[in-house]
Amino acid sequence: MDFIMNLPFVTIVLSLFSAVICFAMKDKKARFVSYFLLITSGIMSALVLLYNLNSETGYFVYRMGHYDAPIGNEISAGLLEPAFLLLFEVVMFLSLAGGSQHIMQDVKAEKHKYFCIMVNLTHAALAALCYTNDIFTGYVFIEICTIASCSLLMLTKRTRALVAATRYMIFSLIGSSLVLVGIILLYSITGHLLFPQLFSTIQGLWTTGEYTFPLTIALGLIVSGLAIKSGMFPFHFWMPDTYGTATPAASGILSGVISKAYIFLLLKIIFRVIGYEVFLDSKIQYVLFIFGICGMIVGSVSAIKTNNIRFMIAYSSAAQIGYIYMGLGLGTKGAIIAALFQVVAHSLTKPMLFLSASGLSDTVGGRHDFASIRSSAHNNKIAAISYSAGALSMVGIPIFAGFIPKLLFSTSAFGHGIQTYLMLIALAISTILNVLYFLRTLINIYSPAKVELERKTITFKNSVAFSVIVLIMSAVNIAVGLHSQPIISVFEKGLELFINIR
């Protein structure tokens, strides 16, 4: 069974290799390679997760080369790493398969191959970001992730998508350069790049009080860089543009997977590099908390104001990411588990919303404004069902996945003085705002059409893949909402490992 310990490295190298293979292939075969890669790596992540659940330590370190830790590279896998990679792979596969019909329409025919290459490279980067045990390896794969995700946006053949991709690239590069500066500062005051060594050195420096100022700055830079890349509140302005104009599969991958991967890396850095106590001591958490709450409110207000259904979903992403940062900012274990569950709920729901919203707008010739998509639910019933499921999940109705994190957030809020009040009030306001804008779309798409606005009906047909995938996504959402306890217990164990194992 020790063979399973090879699988994290096999996942990373296999996806890099398959990107190269796709470069030499025709479109159809390249697409096949992408699906094959996502399925096999999903199986491999599941195997690693099972192996770690059944092993004694629940954790292993894999040497990348012939040299031990501070000298060579290494990767590590506990419980959270394979679990989140599995989630990312499932979401990527579903949004790729469900959005394949739109990819055909939105991407130039001769460039389909590049879409597959970029998906493979993104997957490699995600796997490496999850499994990395070395901060510089993390940075290298952040670079790959940045370029690949920009490319996924650029492939949509609209001029607006190029503008959006440029904007996303600027924000993303600001984020990566802040991370890089942070890593440089961290290296010059600790002399290490690997997580365990960095951790022990930082603990020593923090207790002796040596280099406290550069250390705080370095941590702040890394945290804010990753926060910018994942779209935290004051830096969320790239979101509506990018998610609203890209092809739905790319929007789904970007909102559901890539921004979450940065959040996961941030969590890993907080626990495995900075250390939980130093993080709580450094007061960076309050900044995250405040910006998270602001993001929840501002994102929702923007979502209410916009008239375009895809922009609305994108703004709601900004709000949902605010929840995650609020949880990280509160800093208790319960809140962090709630934030992790929010990652799961959001990345399962958002791609489904993007896919079904584009399914709805197909009925009116690809228009996304509310006046146009009125009563479109009657023309595309499957998309409407999954859109309703997604909307109810985002609002936080019980039995859907989105309910669990809200419950966990509110239960973990108590006993923190002023923060309790802030958090509960923000949760209440944000839930009301969520209800406002999501139920508005639901009422809108199910209302009968206005007579004077009637247009020529546009003939369209849902592809089988689209129908099956959106229904599967709705089913998965409900399943996660009903059976949340196993997932929460895995998260609890994984978080304990993050805190305890050095």
């Binding site: 190298v13 012939h66 000298i71 794969f141 670079e143 010059s188 010739g365």
Partner: protein
Amino acid sequence: MKNKFSSLLKEWYEGNLSFDDRMNSEPEKVTTIKEESEKKEIRIVKDVENAEQKLTSKGYKFFSVIFCVILAVVLIGTVNFMPLFADNNTPTTNEVYEHYVGEGRDQTGAVNTVAGMILDYRAFDTLGESFVLFTATCAVLLLLEQSKNKPIKKRETFTFSNDPIVCTVVKILTPIIIVFGIYVLFNGHLSPGGGFSGGSVLGAGFILFAMAYGEDNAAKIIKPSIIRVITICSLSFYCLAKSYSFFTGNEFNGIHSIITPGTPGNIVSGGLILPLNIAVGFVVCCTMYSFYMIFKRGRLD
């Protein structure tokens, strides 16, 4: 009051209430699909501008300036607290540094410690770096490559192909540059240099050739299929070689690596460092050359 509020609410949920100057205008009626798609583009632009600029246009510039100034002040301030540069007692002169310098030559077989570090000790990072180059090549290709059915756009560019001085100098220089690039590549484990620097020298040689003799002539000699094949082979070789090395590096697999460091100083030594240097060099060279050709010409062939 109550009626007004409820009518506003109705307007809003139907999507007719927008927060810009179209507030009171009638919803547009469009009929044909072409008109529809044109209007859609305009509407998307308008929506983005309205949704964002209203919030940000005034505050945005102000806050970006504030953000930059604060960042600059903080970063410059941090320098004061950092350890001195090139001091013997900095935190970076620790056991890792001692190991690299002291035992690097014997363990990796590379006289050039940097080559030993990047291609043996921390080869996984370098694998990632060469894939960054590959990703960038793909991104440039997908963005700028013109389709084969379209004729190449003739742009008014200045070429040196009729200039006897430039052509003669390039004719003499190109072989020398390429030979020097190959030397840097193959001696990467023995002397300063290696894959990245040797590859960029090689790429510069080819770019010089293409600049002097015109991109059309260069494209006839260096075919795009060759560039693709070299890139694919180099990266595949890198993946496979390093997979072998990572796989054998862990004892529980029960296989020992057959690759030995050899005698440090020999040209065939350093285990995988020499072939990996060559692979990285080829990738860098192809990346640079194809960037030049795509930016200048729109496609590789």
